[in-house]
């Protein structure tokens, strides 16, 4: 009787230990993703908790050796859609044609300029860039965060967001153009660049 008892308890302990070692290193990354989704630190913390709880509950379904970080991010994205999205303030949508026109306007001044970074982004602060990302629509900021901050591949992003890889590619491209336009306008308005 006792060996059976101890083997059951040991399995539970092993599962807990395994969850701890697999999932805990990604807590901060999850928190960052949660901030970008909810745009509120308290909500983000709650979302991390809910995600972690779900992940722990279903950890026996997690396939060992696969990408635990992507698995946790997928749980977070679904939890956000089901439980948090309604309460979160959604950013205004941007007309993509406006962005294309804007690009046409500013293109001429950059074609022969070899010091883009000096001109535009040198004085931008990390917080200003974070705010600009937060102001993107959910689909756009999600791909930017997953790709540029968390370093996921397109295939992984497709799995996390449940979208075809082609959609991820075009979404990312559009998101970057919109973000660039936002930052450029912000930099111009704040005197970070001479190109107004």
């Amino acid at each position: 009787m006792l060996p059976i008892l101890f083997s059951i308890l040991n399995n539970d302990k092993q599962l807990q230990a395994s969850f701890k070692s697999e999932a805990e290193p990604h807590l901060d990354a999850l928190y960052n993703f949660a901030i970008s989704l909810t745009t509120d630190r308290d909500d983000a913390y709650d979302l991390v908790q809910d995600t972690y709880l779900k992940a722990f509950r279903f950890f026996d379904k997690f396939e060992k050796g696969t990408n635990c970080k992507a698995w946790l991010f997928r749980i977070m994205k679904n939890t956000y859609i089901n439980d948090y999205r309604k309460r979160s303030k959604q950013p205004e949508k941007v007309d993509y044609n406006d962005i294309e026109n804007f690009y046409e306007e500013i293109k001429a001044s950059f074609v022969n300029n070899n010091h883009l970074e000096e001109e535009i982004f040198k004085n931008l602060l990390g917080d200003e860039i974070s705010e600009a990302i937060a102001s993107l629509t959910e689909d756009f900021k999600t791909v930017i965060v997953l790709c540029d901050l968390e370093g996921f591949s397109y295939q992984e992003i497709a799995e996390i967001t449940n979208a075809p890889i082609g959609t991820v590619r075009s979404r990312l491209h559009r998101a970057r153009k919109i973000l660039f336009a936002k930052l450029y306008k912000y930099a111009s308005n704040n005197g970070y660049t001479e190109n107004k």
Partner: protein, 292 residues
């Protein structure tokens, strides 16, 4: 439409998603020969670089992580209560109930049998408020939250020992280098006019290991500082006292003439070998029931 496809490929190129050499070359050539494409390539590449370089990721504090792990434990219990029926049918229920029966039987045997050689009153967290255990826990929390500053930064154990000596610590300190983490520095605290040494390690994941050591010679003079007599004796016998606060491990032990408190959020495997559970002779208590 055709242009749109090229533009998407620019992002793929920037992100290293195009692995085929021929395709890569083809896109690069197109970019070089078309000012519109080149403009997009340069701006988007710059944007990616700027995001990576300028945004510093937010971090959960140790306290938040700790709370989170504890809450998960509590919620598990709640959800178990909600689904009692399925729990009663589960293997775990059978295991726990069997354990309870075995435990009760052993308890009765102990109560009716001869006394065992056990440690009593080993609850330092509940004893004197100024004991070194409480001081160490407070110090660790203050270090992690940035409220307490490190007085000397050095990765050299000898330099730290000299700092302690030069600044009034009148006992020898034991400081070693660890394999998976870096010695960050140390500081001195004062209790009843006596100066005490503390030092800190940090690993590449930002976890801390903090050590507070006090010469046992102070025990006679200030017994309240050393938790309880029972525990003091227990440590004298070469044992360790271990306690988990969520994922935060506290170990009390005796190293040469010093009584040491080690606090860390390292995993068991990352701890110095002699502090790992499998190597230590311990009074082991987990999880903690202490509500801090």
């Amino acid at each position: 439409m055709k242009d749109d496809i090229h533009f998407d490929e620019i992002s793929s190129l920037i992100d290293g998603e195009i692995t085929e050499a021929k395709k890569k070359e083809e896109i690069t050539e197109k970019i070089d020969s078309d000012t519109k494409l080149k403009f997009e390539f340069l701006t988007l590449k710059l944007l990616k670089k700027t995001i990576r370089n300028k945004i510093s990721p937010a971090e959960l504090s140790v306290k938040q992580k700790d709370e989170l792990l504890q809450k998960i434990g509590v919620r598990q219990k709640r959800s178990n209560q909600l689904s009692k029926l399925s729990f009663i049918q589960s293997k775990r229920f059978i295991a726990y109930s069997t354990f309870a029966v075995v435990f009760l039987a052993v308890a009765l045997l102990i109560l009716n049998g001869p006394p065992l050689n056990t440690v009593r009153n080993t609850t330092p967290e509940k004893s004197q408020p100024q004991n070194m255990f409480i001081q160490a826990v407070n110090n660790f929390q203050n270090i992690v939250s940035g409220k307490m500053s490190i007085q000397v930064y050095s990765s050299n154990p000898k330099e730290l020992q000299e700092f302690f000596k030069a600044n009034g610590v009148s006992y020898s300190t034991k400081i070693t280098l660890l394999e998976n983490s870096e010695l960050v520095g140390g500081f001195i605290s004062i209790y009843k006019g006596i100066k005490f040494a503390h030092h800190i390690y940090k690993d590449k994941n930002g976890n801390f290991l903090y050590m507070f050591q006090v010469d046992q010679k102070y025990f006679k003079e200030y017994p309240k500082m050393f938790i309880t007599n029972d525990l003091y004796q227990y440590l004298q016998n070469g044992n360790q006292y271990r306690l988990y606060f969520g994922n935060l491990l506290t170990i009390m032990t005796k190293v040469k003439n010093n009584i040491c408190v080690l606090i860390s959020n390292f995993s068991e495997e990352e701890l110095p070998q002699k502090y790992q559970l499998k190597f230590a002779s311990t009074y082991y208590k987990q999880p903690s029931v202490l509500n801090n």
